[in-house]
């Protein structure tokens, strides 16, 4: 007898998305829900051959995709009228410059059919590859993932889903979370000021590739410099503070995270003077200075960061033999650039994790005293973790600066550090897959679902509720105070608290944890040493 509960749970969660978006999202979400269901059923299946496992997962896949479709239908026939949109409207398919008009009903029909079919197919395939040996399974999984990641952005562009901006932000935060995972997950050092390194990367890229101080180096060079500056900043923060442990380290990093944006906010009148002779090198006014050796910006103090106004515009990446505005025109090149950056980072981090330094991080996290008795230099190892973590947020910062094309000190506040930390913890400390999933969930909620929810709620209020409410105070409350976006931090806090109670190891626990549970089963089976010896 097949149990359908997991499929229903996955379907329900996924249906929430289509309930908010409807339309083409049914196709994407149906596919994803099917894939997850297949993965779930495949891993728990008692059948042996891939064929049998796959067949077993088709029905649950259909169920999950069915829920998704249901969500989409509810969106179309309940939510849409409730938020005051007409039932029948048109969507456009964009093929480059040409747009094709499509009736919404028609879109819905196509989406439902495609969503259900793709959901069942994905469920079948993902389940059936669970029956393969480890390495082929991995290869298949990676191929499927790559195909999805390649096709999805084009599908998104053609169907005009308007998800791309959010998706790229999610990717940037995933890169950040991967970096923080080194520090928090691998080396076990709590860093609450991680946004500082993000800011340092972004400002480095901003300074070296903008009219601010009139340097415009190539993006491809600047991104490496930003990463290098990030890692140096990591060393600079780490060197004096890494003797601290646990809470104390967290407090110092918290302070660092607060200081860095303030520094960038205030770097608006910079002059560099040799302290004894008072000879000035940078940012002097040659008319007023008597003894000057001005090297750079010799018309008064230098404005490095433009304070609150921010650095704007920051140059875009250029690729030889492509149109100069390739990275200006649309989202696709950005999507693929950050995707490549993420894959590159995953590759590097994996290699590091499996090497000597990865072992040393693990040992330090487990027991610092014992680690130093094994011949591990704790200071060097921790510094390395800080520097590597900062390197990847340097990458992310440089990309972010160029992508948004303007950076402001206010962007890099404490909430960024907290959200990235939430991603790491939610997904599972020390596990990259978990961290990525945590990132998708948290940032997807933050940038995609909450804004959409806010729009819908606003429409719902104006169209359905407010006409029936006459009390002015209540009207005010309903119009202004019920904004899901304002609840976001509370929501994340709630998620963290619930996670800590229900599943402290994260959604996808690291292999160590999983194996630990497994080993626990074995231990229960074998008689403990004491008992055996005592029996003699």
């Amino acid at each position: 007898m097949l149990k359908l509960r997991p499929a229903l749970t996955i379907g329900l969660a996924a249906a929430f998305v289509t309930f908010l978006f409807g339309g083409w999202s049914i196709v994407v979400i149906g596919l994803l829900a099917g894939a997850m269901t297949g993965l779930n059923y495949g891993q728990r299946s008692l059948k042996r051959t891939p064929r049998e496992i796959g067949q077993e997962a088709i029905v649950p896949g259909l169920v999950a995709a069915g829920m998704v479709v249901l969500g989409g239908v509810v969106f179309s026939y309940v939510v849409t009228p409730a938020v005051g949109k007409p039932l029948a409207y048109s969507l456009f398919l964009k093929f480059g410059k040409t747009a094709v008009r499509m009736d919404y009903f028609f879109v819905l029909m196509i989406s439902i059919v495609a969503g259900v079919l793709l959901g069942a197919l994905a469920s079948w395939y993902m389940a059936s590859i669970q029956g393969l040996p480890e390495h082929t399974r991995r290869a298949r999984l990676i191929i499927v993932l790559v195909v999805f990641l390649l096709i999805f952005p084009f599908f998104e562009q053609i169907t005009n889903m308007q998800w791309m901006a959010a998706v790229i932000t999610v990717q940037i935060f995933i890169l950040l979370a991967l970096g923080l995972n080194i520090v928090v997950g691998y080396a076990g050092l709590l860093d609450l000021g991680y946004a500082a390194f993000f800011a340092i990367g972004a400002y480095t890229a901003g300074l070296l590739n903008s009219p601010q101080i009139d340097i415009s180096w190539n993006f491809w060079l600047v991104i490496w410099i930003a990463a290098a500056v990030g890692s140096v900043a990591g060393l600079a923060l780490g060197a004096p503070t890494l003797r601290l442990r646990g809470d104390y380290l967290a407090i110092v990093t918290l302070g660092f995270g607060e200081i860095v944006p303030v520094v960038f906010r205030n770097l608006i009148t910079v002059t560099l003077r040799e302290p004894i002779t008072r000879i000035c090198f940078v940012g002097c006014d040659p008319v007023k200075e008597v003894r000057n050796a001005c090297l750079y910006a010799c018309t008064g103090p230098l404005d490095l960061t433009a304070g609150e106004k921010g650095i704007n515009p920051i140059g875009r990446p250029l690729i030889p033999f492509t149109p100069e505005n390739l990275f200006g025109a649309n989202y696709l090149p950005w999507y693929f650039l950050i995707l490549v950056l993420i894959l590159f980072s995953i590759f590097l981090i994996r290699r590091m994790h499996q090497s000597r330094i990865g072992r040393a991080w693990m040992a330090i996290r487990e027991d610092e005293l014992a680690a130093s008795q094994m011949g591990i230099d704790p200071v060097k190892t921790k510094l390395m973790a800080f520097a590597m973590g900062a390197t990847f947020s340097g990458f992310a910062g440089a990309f972010y600066g160029s992508y948004i094309s303007a950076i402001f000190p206010g962007v890099f506040d404490f909430s960024v550090s907290v959200i990235v930390l939430c991603m790491v913890i939610l997904g599972g400390l020390g596990n990259m897959v978990g961290v990525i999933i945590g990132g998708i969930l948290i940032m997807g909620t933050d940038r995609l679902f909450l804004p959409q929810m806010a729009t819908l709620l606003k429409g719902f209020m104006t169209a359905t509720v407010l006409p029936n409410v006459s009390h002015p105070a209540l009207r005010d409350f309903l119009t202004f105070s019920l904004d899901p976006i304002q609840f976001r931090l509370m929501l994340f806090g709630l998620v963290l608290v619930i996670m800590m109670i229900v599943r402290p190891e994260g959604l996808v626990p690291s292999a160590e944890r999983r194996a630990e549970l497994h080993a626990g089963d074995e231990a229960a089976g074998a008689p403990p040493l004491e008992a055996e010896v005592a029996a003699h």
């Binding site: 000597r356 072992r359 040393a360 693990m362 040992a363 487990e366 027991d367 005293l369 014992a370 680690a371 130093s372 008795q373 094994m374 011949g375 591990i376 230099d377 704790p378 160590e512 944890r513 194996a515 630990e516 080993a519 626990g520 074995e522 231990a523 074998a526 403990p528 040493l529 004491e530 010896v533 005592a534």
Partner: protein, 235 residues
Amino acid sequence: MLELKDVHTYYGNIHALKGISLTVDDGEIVTLIGSNGAGKTTTLRTIQGLIRPRHGTITLNGEDLTKVPAHEITSKGVSQSPEGRLIFPRMTVKENLEMGAFARKDKDGIKRDMERVFTVFPRLKERISQKGGTLSGGEQQMLAMGRALMANPRVLLLDEPSMGLSPILVEQIFKIISELHAQGTTILLVEQNARMALSIASRGYVLQTGEIRLQGPAARLRDDEDVRKTYLGEH
């Protein structure tokens, strides 16, 4: 081989070791006994460089260890099975043992020593892919000793290997220590279980409030009136 000369160690203002001098010669088991707070663990930590002595010298084959950073002392040939074992709970037995050889580069030697550890502790071989934290107390003690052996030390420091183990297990652990000694390992054994320690050691030191009160061949310490009263519980 290992020699401490007039070592004074402080925890802040607390004078923990008040001029300890001891030697461990090649191939010997030397035991350091004493009650709680006498400074036994402090002595081992000082040798390992985890705490710096304020006065005195620690030498290994004539080489001064007092200035060597803690993490390099392991590669000089001193390794320790620490008090409370301090194994890595979330690493497997194999990974724990590999961590013991972290400072070494000679792959063949590491492999050989791994085999040796598994001959001495067949238990560990049975548990090879199990997490350290899921082992029983006795197994964890074996793992801590095995891990220390993986550094291929010239001197093995054992800090209270009998702590928290049942009497039968204590006997087993001590049998293994004698075996290791028979194979030529030099051991400095810190113990509260003075009777067992003195039964396998060749020489012993009695530590009391940071000072060495008595020293000599183990057999003579065993017969000493004070030792019998204070540490062996005889009247």
